[in-house]
């Protein structure tokens, strides 16, 4: 009966330490530096910032999307 409790106690301590270790690793690894650059990792040359990547599957709304893209581009230019 005592064995499961020991396993659980070990689990609680282990998960807590794992969390702290992850935080320390992230800090050491430079994950918290240069945050503005980091937020851009989900974009690439093919899907750069400024390019919408989803639309309703029909010509009408695709046009709507283009209008939107054009509008935001011209807003930027202004």
């Amino acid at each position: 009966m005592i064995v499961p409790y020991l396993i659980l106690l070990f689990g609680v301590v282990f998960m807590g330490l794992l969390g702290i270790a992850a935080l320390c690793w992230a800090a050491k690894n430079g994950q918290f530096t240069n945050l503005n650059q980091s937020s851009r990792v989900i974009f690439d040359h093919d899907e750069p910032i400024g390019k919408p990547t989803d639309s309703f599957p029909e010509p009408r709304s695709r046009n709507a999307m283009q209008t939107f893209a054009r509008a935001s581009a011209s807003a930027k230019a202004v």
Binding site: M1, P4, I7, L8, G11, M15, L18, G19, A22, L23, A26, Q31, F32, L35, N36, Q37, S38, S39, R40, V41, I42, F43, D44, H45, D46, E47, P48, I49, G50, K51, P52, T53, D54, S55, F56, P57, E58, P59, S61, R62, A64, M65, Q66, F68, A69, R70, S72, A73, S74, K76, A77
Partner: protein, 494 residues
């Protein structure tokens, strides 16, 4: 496969940086195809089953004799069968599917060890099938959130464990670079939950503790299933989809990191606020109430971030199905979490705890936030796996409006009905039956909103089956290979 051919054509044609990125992304997406669609497909099946069970349970509240002649359709079995079908049958596998795809994309690595995931999906679905049948046959453990018998939960634990191992393998093999905030959320979810699930099962089913300690463990598990499993997966999707769809980085990446770490720190303490007034040490409950109120920090970071990222881009909701569902979910997350923090305050808790307000809150969180975000993610992911666009835009619109209005109606009805019920229960001069009667008409409205949701799910399932079978007209090229669809620069050039 024409996808392969297309990739080859692109390779031979030119190799600009954009082409290289596109080919790499296509290869990663394609590698996740089978396991992700397997998880998504089975999730949608269980969503329909769970919705039907929910309708039965909902209408039994108003018409108790409805279908009561068969033991397996009585309220005491149908209601836990609903909870487990949607939590373990729908929400978890749907989130795992989205998590697999996100993990592969964010690690920038094609999926490794596909067999682990396929085995996990099989264990998972066999487990859920036997679990639901066991509950309907009367073998429920009667522990909320863990109604599956102990033998069945072993199957689910194996599946959880396999997926956890897979996530670690993928993370180790990631391409060097920054670990995006969505990845942090996914790592937390996929590594915490197997441990959480095993611990709770061990203490409640395999080697049960005695007395009121069971209640504490029950709600430690029950709330962490929401806080450290569903919530991080939902937020991981939202943090990827919103910036990606509108093509704009997260407003404040600093806040997103702060939000993640504060969520990990505070959320795991929240469970004991379910036990306010129960036979538990006061410090246990107080600490939990404090942590519940502290949840305002991670919630506000997410709310500010998502709102500020969307600012000036709200018109995008018109043209993107993914964004519609995701933003609806993200807004509901703020609402549900703020309400949750308030409900943990003892004075408020006393009024609402044993009323329909709690049911409304649970649905706002797990449906209004999580399920809607997952729907949004599915609308983005599936065309990229099948190489085929969603066959019908109007089905997507019906799906959105039925589910969005349905869940809003359900929440409002249950909150008003539950509050009236709570005041009636508080008043010693009012008899118990009166409190039931106050809530009754609102429960009827809830049943109606349930029909709306169910119809929405059937519509979604039809659209999903159609995209798998590649029905409908071929709309130019699939989303993934759409020839550089009007980026800003091109539009400006035009």
């Amino acid at each position: 496969m024409n996808v392969v051919k297309e990739v080859e054509n692109i390779v031979t044609a030119s190799t600009s940086p954009a082409d290289i990125d596109r080919i790499e992304r296509a290869e990663i997406d394609r590698s996740t195809r089978f396991p992700v669609l397997l998880f998504f497909g089975s999730a949608i099946f269980w969503l329909i089953v769970g919705s039907v069970l929910a309708l039965l349970a909902a209408f039994k509240m108003n018409f108790p004799s409805f279908l009561d002649s068969m033991g397996w359709l009585t309220f005491g079995r149908v209601r836990p069968a609903h909870l487990n079908a949607v939590a373990y049958g729908w929400a978890s596998p749907a989130g795992i599917g989205a998590g697999i795809w996100l993990m592969a994309r964010l690690c920038r690595t094609p999926l490794l060890h596909r067999r682990i995931l396929v085995a996990a999906a099989i264990f998972w679905n066999v487990g859920v099938l036997f679990g639901i049948l066991a509950i309907l046959a009367g073998y429920s453990t009667s522990i909320e959130w863990l109604e599956f018998p102990g033998t069945v939960s072993v199957l689910l634990f194996i599946a959880f464990g396999l997926i956890g191992v897979w996530v670690l393998i993928m993370f180790r093999n990631r391409k060097p670079g920054h670990v995006y905030v969505s990845q942090w959320y996914l790592l937390a979810a996929f590594l915490c939950f197997p441990w959480l699930y095993a611990s709770a099962n061990m203490l409640l089913l395999w080697q049960p503790t005695q007395g009121s300690a069971q209640g504490a463990i029950n709600w430690w598990y029950g709330h962490n299933a929401l806080g450290l499993w569903f919530t991080p997966i939902g937020l991981a999707c939202a943090y990827y989809m919103i910036p990606k769809v509108i093509g704009r980085p997260i407003h404040s990446y600093y806040l997103s990191i702060l939000g993640f770490w504060s969520l990990v720190l505070f959320y795991s303490w929240n469970g004991m606020h379910h036990l306010i007034g129960g036979p538990f040490p006061a410090w246990l409950v107080s600490a939990s109430v404090v942590a519940s109120v502290m949840m305002f920090i991670p919630v506000l970071t997410v709310a500010i971030n998502h709102h500020m990222t969307m600012r000036g881009h709200f018109s995008a909701l018109r043209w993107s199905p993914t964004l519609r569902f995701t933003v609806f979910g993200a807004m509901t997350y703020t609402l549900a979490s703020a309400q949750g923090s308030l409900m943990a305050i003892p004075a408020y808790n006393r009024l609402t705890h044993f009323t329909d307000v709690t049911i409304g809150h649970a649905h706002l969180g797990l449906y209004g936030f999580y399920t809607m975000v997952i729907f949004g993610a599915m609308y983005y992911i599936v065309p990229r796996l099948t190489g085929w666009e969603w066959p019908s835009a109007s089905l997507i619109r019906w799906h959105f409006w039925l589910t969005a209005i349905g869940i809003a109606l359900m929440f409002i009805a249950l909150t008003i009905g539950g509050t009236l019920q709570g005041f009636a229960l508080e008043d010693p001069g009012v008899n118990f039956m009166a409190s039931v009667n106050y809530a009754a008409p609102f429960r009827l409205v809830r049943g109606f909103s349930g029909i709306m949701l169910t119809v929405g799910h059937v519509i979604f399932a039809v659209n999903f089956a159609m995209i798998l079978l590649k029905m409908g007209e071929r709309r130019g090229e699939p989303t993934l290979f759409a020839p550089a669809r009007t980026s800003n620069t091109e539009a400006a050039a035009v």
